[in-house]
Amino acid sequence: MVAGVGAWYLLQGKHQDFARRTVALGTAFATVLIAGQVFIGDIVYGTMLKYQPSKMQAAEGFWEKQSQSPAPYYWFIVPDQKDQRNRFALATPYLGSIWLTHSLKGRVEGLKNTPREFQPRMALVFYAFRIMYCLAMLMFAMGVASLWLRFRGTLFNSRWFLWMLVFMTPSGIIATLAGWYVAETGRQPWVIYGILRTADAVSPVPSQALLSTLIAFVCVYAVFITAFLIFTFRIIHRGPVEVPVYPEASGSIKNAFRPHVLDSPKRLADSQFSERS
C-alpha cells in the first residue's frame, strides 16, 4: 500500500522526495517480508496437511485419493461436488508435484480421502486459496523485480513497474481476506476440526435475530468503509505536505509525542504546516 501511493505520486510527478522514500522503503520491506511470508506459508502448509488435511485437499483441486504422478498444478477448475470430479480443469503439468511435494514426481492427495459428509465445498476453498496464492506470487515477483530495477538504478523511472505498484495497492489486503476465507470455508463442516460440527455449535438465538444483526453489520460497515475510502482518497490527493501534522483530535496517543519529532530542524524546514488556529 505504501509503495502503491508513492508510485502514484511519482507517476503524477508530485511530492517527488516523499514518493521516492515511500517507494524505496515500501518495495524493500515488501521484498524481505513477502519472501519470509512465502517461506512461513510453506511451513504452515505442511502443518495444515497434517492437522486439517481436508482443507488442503480442497484447496488444491484434486479429487482422487492419489493424484497421477507427476501431479499437475490447477489454475482453473469447475468442480462438481456431487460427482466428486472436476468437469473442467486448466493445469500446468509437473508444477503440482514440484510446489506441493517438493519433488518431480510426488503425488497429491485429493478430497476423496475425506468422507463425503465431512468435505468442505471445493470451489470456495480452491478459489480463495488461488487468489491468495497467486497474489502472493505476484507480490513476490514484484519484490524481485524491484531488486533488479534498484540494481540498475531505474526503480523510480520504470513507468510500467510504478503502474503495477499502483494497481497492486490493495493486493495485500485482498490476499489476507482470501486467506481468511480459505481458513474458514476449508474447515467446514467443522467449527473445531474433527471435534465439533458447526451445525452442532449453533446458539439458541433465533435465525430472525441473526439475520437482522447481520443486516445491521452490513449497513454499519458499509458506512464505515465508504467514509474510510473517501477520507483515504482525500488524504492521498492532498499529499504529504498539506496533511496537518497535528491532527486536531484523533484517538491516538501518538500525537502527544509528536512535538519531539517536530523539533528536529529538518522536519521543521521540510514542512509548511500551519499552526492550528
Binding site: 444483526t213 445491521a216 474510510f228 477520507f231 483530535a249 484517538g251
Partner: protein, 330 residues
C-alpha cells in the same frame, strides 16, 4: 484456594473498572449531543482523546474471563442478551471510528459529532438493558437459555437503560468538570444539575420495581437487609452531595462523587447477585470451567493486569491536569 470465587472477583473487578472508566468517556459523548458550540465540542473530545481506547480494554478482559472461566454462564448470557450486545458493539464501533473521522471531515463535522454522541448513547442504553435483564432474571432450563431474545425489552431493563444513561452523563460531566477549561464549565454545571438528580431518581425507581418483580431480590433483601439499606443511604447522601457540588467551581468533587455513586451501586448489585453468576439461577461454582482452565485464566490475568494498569496509569499521568485549549498536540 477457591478458584471460581477468585475468577468471579476478577470478573467483577474488570467490569467495575470498565463501567467507571468507559462510563465517563461515553458520558462525554452523550453530553456532546447537547453542546451547540463547535469549539466546546472539540474541547470535550480532546479531554478524552488520550485515554478512551485504553478504557475499553477492560470490557474485553471481562468478556474473555467470562468465556474462559465461566463458559456455562457465557453460553446462557450471550444468547439471552444477544441483541443488546451486538447493538452495543456496533455503537461502540461507531464511536471508535468517529474519533478519527470527525477530524477528517470538514463539511460534515456536525454530522460526525452527532454520530459521536449517538454511539455512546446507544451503547449506554444497551448496557443498561443488559443490567436490567440480569436483575429481572434470565430464564434457564438444563443450564441453557430457555427464554426469548426479546425478554430484554420489558419495563425493568428499559428503566435501567435510562438510569445508566444518566449515570454515564454524571460521570462524563464530572470528568469534564475536572479536565476542561472555563469555556465549557458553565455547560457542565448545567448538565450535572440535571443528570445527577435524574440518575438518583431513576435508580430509585429501578430498585423499587426490581424488588417488586423479582422474588430472588426479595430473598437477598431478607438475608442482607442491613448491608443493602446502608448502601442505599450512602447512595442517596452521595447523590445529594453531588447535586450540591455541581454548581460550584471546585473541579474534583463531582467526578469522585460520581465514581463513588457507581462503586456503591455496583456493590449493591453484586450483593444481590452473589453467589449466582447468572442471577437467581446458576451459581459461580456451577458455571465454572475446569480448574486447569481457570488456573490458566488467573495466571494470564496476573501477568496482563499489572501491565494494563501500568500503561493506563502512565497515560493518565502524561495527560494530567486541564485539557489545553487547542488539544494535546499543540
Amino acid at each position: 484456594m477457591d478458584l471460581p470465587l477468585l475468577a468471579a472477583s476478577f470478573l467483577a473487578f474488570t467490569l467495575t473498572l470498565y463501567v467507571i472508566l468507559d462510563g465517563f468517556d461515553l458520558g462525554v459523548g452523550i453530553l456532546l449531543l447537547f453542546q451547540s458550540a463547535k469549539a466546546g465540542r472539540d474541547h470535550m473530545v480532546d479531554s478524552i482523546t488520550p485515554t478512551w481506547d485504553g478504557n475499553e480494554t477492560w470490557i474485553i478482559m471481562a468478556g474473555v474471563t467470562l468465556l474462559a472461566a465461566f463458559p456455562i454462564a457465557y453460553s446462557i448470557l450471550l444468547p439471552a442478551f444477544y441483541l443488546p450486545v451486538i447493538v452495543m458493539l456496533l455503537a461502540l464501533g461507531f464511536r471508535g471510528v468517529t474519533f478519527e473521522f470527525r477530524t477528517q471531515s470538514i463539511g460534515h463535522r456536525r454530522a460526525w459529532d452527532v454520530a459521536f454522541g449517538v454511539g455512546p448513547l446507544v451503547a449506554a442504553l444497551m448496557q443498561g438493558l443488559i443490567l436490567g435483564g440480569l436483575m429481572q432474571g434470565v430464564t434457564v432450563q438444563n443450564r441453557q437459555f430457555a427464554g426469548s431474545v426479546l425478554d430484554i425489552f420489558r419495563p425493568l431493563p428499559i428503566i435501567s437503560g435510562i438510569t445508566l444513561l444518566f449515570g454515564y452523563a454524571v460521570l462524563g460531566g464530572g470528568w469534564l468538570k475536572l479536565k476542561s477549561n472555563v469555556s465549557v464549565q458553565h455547560f457542565v454545571s448545567r448538565s450535572l444539575r440535571v443528570a445527577a438528580p435524574a440518575f438518583a431518581v431513576f435508580f430509585a425507581i429501578a430498585c423499587i420495581y426490581a424488588v417488586r418483580i423479582q422474588p430472588g431480590i426479595r430473598a437477598q433483601w431478607a438475608s442482607h437487609g442491613t448491608a443493602l439499606a446502608c448502601l442505599i443511604c450512602l447512595f442517596a447522601i452521595t447523590a445529594g452531595t453531588l447535586t450540591a457540588f455541581s454548581g460550584q467551581s471546585r473541579p474534583a468533587p463531582p467526578f469522585f462523587l460520581g465514581v463513588s455513586l457507581f462503586v456503591v451501586g455496583i456493590s449493591g448489585i453484586a450483593l444481590i447477585a452473589f453467589p449466582k453468576i447468572v442471577p437467581f439461577s446458576v451459581s459461580v461454582w456451577d458455571a465454572s470451567s475446569s480448574p486447569s482452565s481457570q488456573r490458566l485464566v488467573m495466571i494470564g490475568a496476573a501477568c496482563v493486569t499489572p501491565v494494563v494498569l501500568a500503561y493506563s496509569a502512565f497515560a493518565y499521568w502524561i495527560f494530567r491536569g486541564k485539557t489545553p485549549e487547542n488539544g494535546w498536540g499543540a
